[in-house]
Subunit: 581 residues, 2 copies
């Protein structure tokens, strides 16, 4: 491609509304252009990256046996009513009516449509396994779109759906996709982690997020540097302390802690470490009578070590809390504890509550907790001696750096990531609701075992930049760069030698399969170099009269501080080798 | 591709709602699957054709200097309000509100967005010409979607938009695109015609439709078999008869024609040719007062030869009718003619009307027309003698087969076509409404001269099939076939020789760049052949034990009645040659 036949539009300054570096750089490099909140034009420079990302995904999905089709953007509401998602989903599901006042949705994903295809097309176990995917525009009406195309409303996603005859076969399809995803992310040239994730109501352990590692990532990734363990924070298990609970050493005492209502304040005030303070959280669950009408509530006391945070997903798995919980109201707290929040604890309740203790809480001794009396705490509290053992001891907290790894192979570390892919075993969730069956070997109908596999195509661009940039601009991996190399001829319009050498090298690189851009715009060297550093082209070749006199050109990798002078005759092969290597 | 890794789903019968052959065959060949009215899943077999069509378009658009970007599907209403199309367009424009109750549209085309990009990005004449295009999903909420993906609601279109500094430069961009379109349609391998079309209010002659010739086409294409002339029926000029008007030979007489109210009935009743009868059409235009309120109407009498049809577009260009016209009401007709329709004519009016005569009418003599009295016609009527010459003589009719060609090179013929592409000079229509300017050489802002260029990507599939099919199925041109060749091994599962030969030939064809499918499904020969004839793969290679004993295979082109027996060793090169040739 020659610059004169392309469209290049760079900006010195990022627009004020671009909060994160990837958004700023994509705007400055002319890759995207805002059309509305969370809606972007993909400009020619950005579209080239998208097409390369899509190409790699297609290659590896096909190698993984998945077959590409294309499901519509505007989908009839009927199918979404079958699964209940039409009513259950919030306003992020964009609903629209046609001229006949019939309901449609603009697809955020395609489980319903693909299951509808499967129940019509896959009639026999002989046709299984089958994996259909498409790369399609999605729309999610985010309440607060932000971060450019990382959390846009309109975006491109690759979503695949596997259909199998048994959970075992579905697990094999899952593994095949997991392997394909690893190949895809390897080819992207990004640093990433496949992270075990929560499977929710489906159960089992077949759910992984593919996280691109970046300091600016929204997600906390838990991993063990000395083993393969990696999970997201929702799932990562906080194992029970190895050491047994210590024996009591002091007597329980009530202490005045005026105005000290947080664990941190209380511990500091009493001169205790946070690990000796107890955090009391009061939850409630609502009961329904046989007619489904409200019939009172149950109150739960959750106990965490003062320096730990509650993990909502883990709490949601506690027996009795699975069907939904909420924080208790002040009235409920007062009725059970006779005290306002800040001074609550498990001793001296007005009415009994269920007490759920985190594993680390059960191992505490000589600890301090609220006295259920304003401005007072208890110290030297011990399980068994001062109060009964908790009703349930279970993992309900987020792990922290330094916690033992659940695989026993070391301690946990935490880094930040951007979720760009997800592989997920769906089981029969959709096939049962939509009555999607095939005939098994005995001729009886059986529900499809399904899996779904997404990659945020446009999100990859943002994540790649968050991970790979410097003060001068983007640093694309060669496989997804808009151009792999750029030829910058200096004074091309006044030097016939430079022009001829540039054109010849351009042809040579093209013939060698390098996706090269010849910058024939006639810009000054400074402006030209700044543009390509901003855009992030991996290899730059500078051709000048001075160099040509010695038969040389200057080649500089985007991460390199210095250019390498090399013979013009070797430039094409060396640039090729740099891109491969 | 191996069939076992692909998805093939053929049907013996077409669904009842498939009216046209392309729709029937696409459904039967498993290329598309209906999701809702005018909304289709593109199944793997169909998507392959779409991708090939897109590939050819991208190639040639790029060669024509156009740059690809991607504009969003969901677009803010503001831009569409700027041009007035948000309010002016009917319900075919799908409107939607987001969670904040803001208006959006689902794009049927992108003039507004691309003009918005241009007015921000193209600041100087030095950046011109520029041509942006995208291949994107469109939505038009058709009142009556039909013909499968030929008139769907959701479809894929390539739309390009050129920006130029002057009408002359815009004409050059137009010519460049016209040439690119010819290359595109040539490469599709379809029989087509570039047909001059009406430019409406823009004026000039820069509008062409690209029509794929098919008997089932909705459009009438006018062309001259002995010259280059081709136009659509809206535009094709009906030239004035070469022979001068003949002298009167009979006297005017009033004749009883009881119940004969059509030209055909009257001519038959009177024993006259249709060319001697006059068709009277009464139109009306509404006047507005200075406040824009209705202020009465003007009545017009349009005269056509009995065997001719009115051309609405031509009538819409008659001075006085340009701002809109309608058929007159019965009350208006009675007020001016004192008679009901069926017996109207230009003689003996109650109130004066403007008389517009078609060119062929002005050349008539001794003709018959309504007497403005129920059940009576006049015969032997002659201009000048029995009534004054018409107020205006102008072309207001559709041409008919045998009319002289406007270029004087022969006579016109008519064939049917399916419009799949359109190139159109827009002038400053959008740039003026949206105040989209660049700085010209003198540093002054000037409006962009624009052109727009569309190709219905998914429609190409339907048109190709309407043109190329037989009783057994589709006949794809090699360039856009889902597969160029298919290897049908007979008894692959029981013959090691057949399996080995099939696999080897498959590898050889792939290495030669042929897009080949190996049918390893193990179907019986009859079912296998029927599938590929239905799908329409251009070349079929049958490998059998019997043939291999003689070292031969059978190769049969989709249009050939007989297979050619040839040495296995030559099959790959011969199939390659057939596909190129």
């Amino acid at each position: 491609m020659k610059a004169s036949q392309f469209f290049i539009s760079t900006l010195k300054e990022a627009p004020a509304d671009a909060e994160v570096v990837s958004h700023q750089l994509m705007m400055r490099a002319g890759m995207i252009k805002r059309l509305g909140a969370g809606i972007y034009n993909y400009m020619p420079m950005g579209l080239r990256v998208i097409r390369k990302v899509e190409g790699i995904i297609r290659d590896e999905m096909s190698r993984g046996g998945a077959v590409e089709l294309l499901m519509p953007i505007v989908q009839p509401a009927e199918l979404w009513q079958e699964t209940g998602r039409f009513d259950k989903m919030g306003p992020e599901l964009m609903r629209v009516k046609d001229r006949h006042d019939r309901d449609f949705i603009i697809q955020p994903t395609s489980e319903e449509v693909v299951t509808d295809i499967a129940r019509q097309e896959l009639r026999s176990y002989k046709q299984l396994p089958k994996n259909f995917y498409h790369i399609q525009t999605k729309f999610r009406d985010e309440r607060r779109p932000r971060f450019g195309i990382m959390r846009g409303r309109e975006f491109t996603m690759k979503d695949a759906y596997s259909f199998d005859r048994s959970p075992e076969a579905a697990a094999r399809s899952y593994e095949t996709m997991f392997a394909a995803y690893k190949r895809i992310f390897d080819r992207f040239g990004l640093t990433y982690r496949a992270v075990a994730a929560d499977t929710g109501a489906i159960g089992g352990d077949l759910s992984h997020e593919f996280q691109v590692i970046a300091q600016t990532g929204e997600d906390a990734i838990i991993y063990c540097p000395t083993s393969d363990y990696a999970a997201n924070i929702e799932l990562a298990e906080a194992v029970a302390p190895a050491a047994p609970r210590a024996e009591p050493t002091v007597a329980m005492a009530k202490t005045l802690t005026p105005g000290k209502s947080t664990c941190a304040d209380v511990a500091a005030f009493l001169g205790l470490p946070m690990t000796k303070s107890l955090k009391s959280l009061v939850l409630a669950t609502d009961r329904l009578d046989e007619q489904g009408n409200p019939a009172g509530s149950t109150v739960w006391l959750l106990l965490l070590r003062g320096d730990h945070e509650m993990n909502e997903v883990k709490v949601g798995k506690v027996p009795g809390l699975k069907d939904g919980f909420r924080f208790a109201t002040l009235a409920e707290i007062d009725a059970h504890f006779g005290c306002k929040p800040g001074y609550l604890g498990p001793i001296g309740l007005k009415q009994p509550v269920k007490i759920i203790a985190d594993r680390s809480v059960a191992a505490m001794s000589d600890f301090c907790c609220g006295a259920n009396e304003e401005d007072y705490h208890l110290t030297g509290v011990n399980w068994g001696r001062d109060l009964p053992e908790p009703d349930l001891v279970v993992d309900i907290r987020n792990v922290v750096e330094g916690d033992p790894s659940p695989d026993g192979q070391g301690v946990l570390a935490i880094e930040r990531g951007i979720e760009v892919g997800h592989v997920f075993y769906l089981g029969t969730k959709y096939s049962k609701t939509m009555n999607a069956t095939f005939l098994d070997e005995t001729g009886k109908p059986a529900f499809f075992e399904m899996g779904c596999y997404g990659i945020g195509v446009t999100r990859i661009l943002g994540a790649a930049i968050e991970q790979n940039h410097d003060e001068r601009g983007i640093i694309w991996p060669a496989s997804i760069a808009p151009f792999q190399a750029v030829i910058c001829p200096i004074g091309m319009d006044r030097s016939a030698e430079v022009k001829a050498a540039a054109e010849a090298l351009y042809a040579e690189l093209q013939a060698a399969g390098v996706d090269v851009l010849l910058d024939d715009r006639g810009e000054r060297p400074g402006a030209m170099f700044a543009d390509w550093e901003l855009v992030g082209v991996p290899q730059r070749i500078v051709i000048s009269d001075r160099g040509l006199k010695a038969g040389t050109v200057e080649v500089q990798g985007r991460r390199e501080a210095q250019a390498t002078v090399m013979p013009l005759a070797e430039a094409a092969s060396q640039v090729g080798a740099r891109l491969r290597g």
